[in-house]
């Protein structure tokens, strides 16, 4: 039996999930569970429904049938969105959008609880920290559209991290980024996974990379979707304070 089933909570659970757009069935019966401190890689050809599945997980789409649960709560009733960071597929924002990197990163904190409230000094410090972790603090005052693709992706990752989410959901985070930056990026993810108590689900088109990291065999297939999984036991799960080991 898989060891993690016993010692970790369900973070995401998909039960008999089906989804169809107006005229097209994307998938009919997806069953999958993501446990605490898993790193799940999701692979599938173009149009397999990977993005659709992630959107179902974060409640942007409602399943045609079946149930999606986050941290044990059905998505519809889920309220603790700070626990989740989501980086959508290729942020196709307007490159002329007048927003600095800092403004974009701070927007990660604009949630229901922060409505009618200003960001505190502490909040802003956290945003600066996230920029430092992504090594883009020197770009804080640049317009987001002026950054390179890789730098933008780091900014969006920083935004998804400002609330120190327990679950990070990434949709093809490295598309359009040069190999060197991709390597850095995955090192960063690996570190976060191993040393910070985070759970990941990442869509990737890079089978080679997923294989070398998450193993060569998918743990589960649902139609055209292939799930790979690696569970972190690099650190005992009880370990609490690891924030000092910010990646270098």
């Amino acid at each position: 039996m898989n060891e993690w089933n016993e010692c970790h909570n369900e973070i995401i659970s998909l039960e008999h999930v089906a989804y169809r757009y107006d005229n097209q069935n994307v998938f009919e019966d997806v069953n999958f569970k993501v446990y605490e401190r898993d790193f799940v890689g999701l692979i599938g050809s173009n149009g397999a429904g990977k993005t659709t599945l992630l959107k179902l997980m974060v409640g942007l789409l409602k399943p045609t049938s079946g149930e999606v649960r986050l941290f044990g709560t059905p998505v519809r009733q889920f309220k603790d969105w700070e626990r989740i960071g989501y980086v959508p597929q290729k942020n196709s924002f307007n490159p002329l959008f007048p927003a600095t990197v800092m403004e974009v990163v701070q927007s990660g904190m604009y949630n229901r609880r922060k409505m009618f409230r200003r960001l505190t000094h502490e909040d802003k410090e956290k945003c600066l920290d996230a920029l430092k972790v992504m090594k883009i603090e020197n770009l804080a005052d640049k317009r987001i559209g002026q950054l390179s693709g890789g730098q933008q992706q780091r900014a969006f990752l920083a935004r998804a991290m400002v609330n120190k989410p327990e679950l990070l959901i990434l949709d093809e985070p490295t598309v359009g980024i040069d190999i060197e930056t991709q390597k850095d990026f995955f090192k960063l993810l690996q570190h976060l996974h191993a040393h910070h108590e985070m759970t990941f689900i990442m869509v990737s088109h890079d089978l080679e990379l997923v294989n070398s990291w998450l193993g060569s065999e998918p743990v589960q297939c649902c139609g055209k979707l292939n799930f790979y999984r690696k569970h972190s036991h690099d650190q005992p799960c009880i370990e609490q304070d690891l924030t000092h080991s910010v990646m270098s």
């Binding site: 959508p88 307007n94 007048p98 990660g108 604009y110 229901r112 009618f116």
Partner: protein
């Protein structure tokens, strides 16, 4: 001569109305432009004119009737936008022609008020009365209040709506609020700059600020400053040289836009 004009009551009312709408229009316009809804101002203005004409026809204060039409029009745009997701401009074309058609229908029904309706087509800032000013003032308060309270949420919503939804923000509620505010601003602005030019005040200051502003806060500040410069400068110029005020304001805005494009390398903020 100049002093006479500047101190006359009708001019001061005009200036006050212009200054108020000069803050409100770009403040709202930036959210419309960034969400690719630049043309919605024009569309709703034409619908509003239909309402104004009906108001004259049935004896209701034209701005109130225009406001009701603007609200209906803005909801219709939203509905159509959902039905034709990938053809946002289609909803705008449909509603705009509907507005023009209704307006001309009402015109033919009541020929004797054509002159009055012209005030709303081309703007008639010198005929603002206290009720008009009160309406503009109220709308200004509502818009500024809303933006102060929900500034950060509106930022995220314009930057990327999906993330706003995943963060648990009531996205539909905000979209509805933006729609209603747009209708309010347009019906309040229409007597000041005229239906044909109202979208200029919503969009050109924003177009200028997009050229030079790096951050969102600065974009809003720049667009409001630019719009005030054009409104105040345009009104004074129009008063002194006896020009059409709405047109002068808009042409001044376009001049500022051109100058900004020419020298923008030097004025990044």
């Amino acid at each position: 001569m100049l002093i006479d004009i500047l101190t006359s009551q009708f001019f001061q009312r005009a200036l006050l109305g212009g200054v108020l709408i000069g803050v409100t229009a770009p403040m709202l316009g930036i959210f419309l432009v960034l969400r690719r809804l630049s043309m919605i101002g024009d569309t709703l203005a034409h619908v509003t004119i239909a309402g104004v004409a009906l108001g004259f026809l049935i004896g209701v204060y034209p701005i109130w009737a225009g406001l009701v039409f603007a609200l209906i029009g803005s909801f219709a745009v939203e509905k159509l936008r959902k039905a034709y997701k990938t053809y946002a401009e289609l909803s705008i074309a449909v509603i705009m022609s509907g507005g023009v058609a209704l307006a001309s229908l009402f015109f033919t029904l009541g020929r004797n008020f054509n002159a009055n309706v012209n005030n709303y087509f081309f703007g008639s800032i010198y005929t603002l009365n206290m009720l008009d000013l009160a309406i503009v003032g109220m709308v200004t308060l509502i818009v500024i209040g809303f933006m102060m309270v929900f500034f950060k949420e509106m930022f995220l919503l314009s930057f990327d709506e999906d993330t706003a939804a995943v963060n648990g923000l009531p996205v539909r509620w905000f979209n509805l609020a933006l729609t209603v505010l747009t209708a309010l601003v347009i019906s309040a602005a229409i007597k000041i700059v005229g239906a044909l030019l109202v979208s200029a005040l919503l969009t050109i200051p924003v177009a200028i600020s997009l050229l030079i502003a790096r951050s969102f806060k600065k974009a809003i500040i720049v667009s409001v400053l630019v719009s005030e410069l054009a409104v105040i400068g345009g009104l004074i110029a129009a008063g002194v040289w006896n020009l059409a005020p709405g047109a002068t304001i808009v042409l001044l805005l376009i001049a500022i836009l051109i100058i900004t494009m020419l020298v923008r390398k030097g004025i990044k903020v």
